[in-house]
């Protein structure tokens, strides 16, 4: 049938000696696989959409919980007196706590925006470096192939 075992070696030798195609693969070197891994690892939702952060935004202001209780009659009046007494002591502390939570939410926001921006920037840089490396490898190939 004319199929000699040496055929495979001939083909490998031919492929190795053939000049590189402009659109062909880089034969001598390719960028590290870690690029793909790194890029894939970064495909995560932005920190700004984090569920805990969203909850903090929805709940940091607990002013509504500090309103005096309603209710008619003596029982309602007693509840309001009790509320006034408690708030006389704890009011300033609770107000401070609410402000603290608000500032905390804003600080977490700032950090999330900064982290997301850094991540996007890192991805852009990685993509650019990878692109340059592929170009460089192709250039080396062309030079090697004469």
């Amino acid at each position: 049938m004319g199929e000699l075992p040496g055929d495979a070696r001939r083909v490998v030798d031919e492929l190795r000696s053939a000049p590189g195609r402009p659109d062909g693969p880089v034969r001598t070197w390719v960028p590290s696989e870690s690029f793909e891994g790194t890029l894939a690892d970064h495909l995560e939702p932005p920190v700004q959409t984090n569920g805990h952060l969203a909850w903090l935004h929805a709940n940091w202001d607990f002013s509504a919980l500090l309103e005096p209780p309603g209710g008619p009659g003596i029982r309602g009046a007693l509840a309001r007196v009790r509320h006034r007494a408690v708030m006389a002591v704890l009011g300033p502390y609770l107000e401070r706590l609410r402000d603290y939570l608000g500032v905390n939410a804003r600080a977490a926001d700032e950090l999330a925006v900064r982290v997301d921006a850094l991540e996007a920037k890192q991805l852009r840089v990685l993509g650019a470096v990878r692109h340059d490396l592929v170009d460089f490898a192709r250039h080396v190939d062309e030079r090697l192939d004469g």
């Binding site: 075992p5 040496g6 495979a8 083909v11 693969p25 034969r27 001598t28 696989e33 793909e36």
Partner: protein, 414 residues
């Protein structure tokens, strides 16, 4: 070295002396077949190539001998007594052993191969690496003494330290060694040669392994065994559901068998597609198989069994094997058996198969791999020629079971 005649096994006195349990069915006098003890780092029915090779050899040997396995896999502590279990026709004695550090040895070996993969290692480094990978198990020597086998087969680099422990005055059995190192440069090291010098016969599973062993010297008789590799050709007639909507595809084998370990990423799947253009790529990797043609991506919901792997293999334009290749190159032989050309790393047992069969190409780097794949995509008639050559070679070289059993028996029993 001459081999003694088969001994009759008489009983419990040996058990008392050695302090290890001995299978009473085998020492009762009913067993008259010569006994062969196979020492291996592990014994399990998994897909791991080295273990599968040892099991195949044990199965062949069981036709003419009583096969007892001594597995260096007990982690309950060095002073723990050996445990015994039955696995089909085999009795398996698990003895306590230090854990092997194969991964560390592999990484150091790669780092030291400054001349490139497959280049010889410095002598001292090779010796130390053999030590790192070995699984010291003092109980194994006592166990072998108690079993009084006609022949001992040391399977795997983890067991080779026993070659010197069993030599000299203690030597009562025929000793065979099967390093299972494939194209590992340590095979050519003098340190290994000295260990193998004590063996009556050294078994290699490929020409590459045999020639490296001979280059190292020391090994008296190196014999190559072509391991039978069975495939179910029906798999070719039943492609995996969903594949028909993808058209011609390349198969990339990057994580098989799936041992649950981390990593396993092969060449970037998208990169393969970006370079080769309009062809689908199916990838068998750890943690899941998938196929993609750029427009669609399909995660296989099927179990990652060997039969499903065969189905993928049988329908592919070519199989690109990007894993570290073992001593057998089993999946490469299977692919050739299905008539699917292979593209495999150069300098490995798989490359030996590709060249000997005329059924595949080999590569030094990722670029060459992709050009070889492109060769099969763009030249259907050449692909067909490679396919026929590979199929014929696999059927002739790796499909014979009867001859293999007789050959193994002759080598082990003398």
């Amino acid at each position: 070295m001459g081999s003694p005649p088969p001994r009759e096994h008489t009983g419990a006195d040996r058990e008392a002396v050695a302090g290890v349990p001995v299978d009473r069915r085998l020492v009762s006098g009913a067993a008259r077949l010569p006994r062969v003890a196979i020492v291996a780092a592990a014994w399990s029915p998994g897909e791991e190539e080295r273990q599968a090779a040892v099991r195949a050899l044990a199965g062949a040997l069981a036709l003419s001998a009583e096969v007892v396995v001594v597995s260096l896999d007990d982690r309950s502590g060095p002073s723990a007594p050996a445990s015994r279990r039955t696995d089909g026709i085999f009795t398996v004695h698990s003895v306590a052993a230090t854990p092997g550090r194969a991964e560390l040895a592999r990484r150091i070996g790669e780092a030291l191969s400054a001349g490139g993969p497959g280049r010889p290692l410095p002598e001292l480094a090779a010796e130390r690496l053999l030590g790192i990978e070995g699984r010291a198990a003092p109980g194994a020597v006592a166990m072998l003494d108690a079993l009084e086998p006609h022949a001992v087969l040391l399977a795997g680099v983890e067991t080779l330290w026993l070659a010197s422990a069993l030599s000299g005055a203690r030597r009562r059995s025929r000793l065979a060694v099967m390093p299972l190192l494939g194209a590992d440069p340590r095979l050519a090291a003098g340190a290994l040669g000295r260990l193998l010098g004590a063996a009556d016969v050294v078994l290699a599973l490929s020409r590459t392994e045999a020639s490296l062993l001979q280059a190292g010297g020391g090994a008296a008789a190196v014999r190559r065994l072509a391991l039978p590799v069975a495939i179910n050709e029906e798999a070719a007639a039943t492609p995996l559901d969903g594949m028909s909507s993808f058209g011609p595809y390349l198969l990339v084998l990057s994580g098989w068998p799936d041992d649950g370990a981390a990593g396993g990423a092969g060449p970037p799947h998208d990169y393969v597609r970006a370079v080769l253009g309009d062809v689908a790529v199916a990838e068998v990797r750890r943690g899941g198989w998938f196929v993609s043609d750029g427009r669609h991506r399909f995660e296989f919901p099927f179990e990652g069994t060997r039969v499903n792997l065969w189905r993928l293999m049988a329908g592919a334009i070519a199989m690109l094997d990007v894993r570290p290749i073992g001593p057998v190159g089993r999946e490469v032989v299977e692919s050739l058996g299905f008539g699917t050309p292979v593209v495999v790393p150069a300098g490995t047992v798989a490359a030996e198969h590709a060249e000997a069969s005329g059924g595949g190409l080999w590569y030094e780097g990722p670029g060459e791999m992709l050009e070889a794949a492109r060769y099969f995509i763009e030249r259907p008639s050449e692909r067909e020629r490679f396919s026929r050559a590979g199929r014929r070679w696999a059927a002739g070289e790796h499909a014979t079971r009867g001859g293999f059993a007789a050959e193994v028996a002759a080598l082990l029993l003398g």
